[in-house]
Symmetry: C2
Subunit: 183 residues, 2 copies
DNA sequence: AGGGTCAGTTCATTCAATGAACCTTCGCGG
DNA sequence: CCGCGAAGGTTCATTGAATGAACTGACCCT
């Protein structure tokens, strides 16, 4: 996708769409952001869920941190381990992902709904712009509940995909650590 | 950008966002679609406005036609000339471009508004989801009026950029032909 | 016949993506 | 204190796509 020579070519474009694509328009980048919304925070989890080459993932994470979309922060000291979490700027990408997902679901032929997104406060399924049709408000991603749809593979090969099978609230980190599994 | 080996890698992803990116996630693709919304329809106009390599543009246009986003149709017989116009499926990408543009304008540092988008019926500037805050309705792209903003280069090098300087309604084709210029 | 427009295609070069292997730090079990 | 494995990378050879310049071909005008 979207390659890194973008700065060179898109920069001269007087257009905010081009500027956005300079940051998130490369291959894998928006999928990394999507996984961050789903609660993925660690390098290895991104890696197994996306299937991207390690070097590309490292480059994308670093670029997203530099662009202020992700924040890299220490979650344990020994051994030192960092996690990547969405900043306010990253959270602002939620409408982009909503719009892309809605288009992929409605307009790409042969697509079965994979996941449904609901307003956690009232249970209503979100409208096409990420708003709650019942409450008439735009729903921030932290108030979105993700539910499995008919098209979701019930037995994904990777553990991250398995952790994302059930109903989950966005932005809640994936379970980890000794108690993490399924106790 | 997002590159053409996408089919291979994104396809196994059970996700409508990934499916959307398979179609519009490659480098240049979304900029082609943006220009189509602005009224660009001809190969040479895309070429001069985007600055993309000719071979890449030809490949992207063909891929978008095959994906049903653009329709290629004959507009004159001799010499045979085709133009590329958005289909219903392509028009459905408008929220994606709106969301990307809003993010690029609000969240990418150092960005000055380049263009403003208004509801042609009432003149109100569109909200972040492409809705009209006054009329409380989602505004279809054909009812959107594009107006120049402070960040717009007043003298672009290419004629297409010059034709897009003023206030224009989306989807209206660029002027062409003997009367086209600025009479 | 010559020049110009439009819409491409071809081709050599450059640049990024891929995937496998390797590296480092640490925790743990014996 | 030795070996093992996990986490989070880096390095490297190979593949593949993007780039830009040149070329093609159909047609029109003068």
């Amino acid at each position: 996708m979207v390659p890194m020579a973008l700065g060179k070519d898109y920069a001269h474009q007087q257009c905010s769409i081009a500027r956005a694509l300079e940051v998130v328009g490369e291959r894998w980048t928006l999928l990394v952001v999507r996984d961050a919304f789903y609660g993925v925070r660690r390098y290895n989890d991104f890696l197994t869920h996306l299937g991207a080459p390690r070097a590309v993932l490292a480059a994308r994470l670093q670029a997203l941190v530099e662009a202020g979309v992700l924040d890299r922060r220490r979650y344990q000291e020994s051994p030192p381990r960092d996690e990547y979490v969405l900043t306010a700027r990253g959270l602002a990408l939620w409408p982009v992902l909503r719009a892309l997902g809605a288009w992929g679901r409605d307009e790409v032929p042969g697509a079965v709904p994979v996941r449904h997104f609901h307003h956690a406060d009232c249970g209503t399924e979100l409208g096409p712009y990420g708003e709650c049709p019942a409450c008439r408000v735009p729903v921030p991603p932290g108030d979105v509940e993700m539910r499995p749809g008919a098209g979701l593979d019930p037995d994904p090969g990777d553990p991250v995909g398995r952790a994302l099978l059930g109903t989950r609230r966005l932005l809640v980190p994936l379970p980890h650590g000794p108690e993490g599994g399924n106790s």
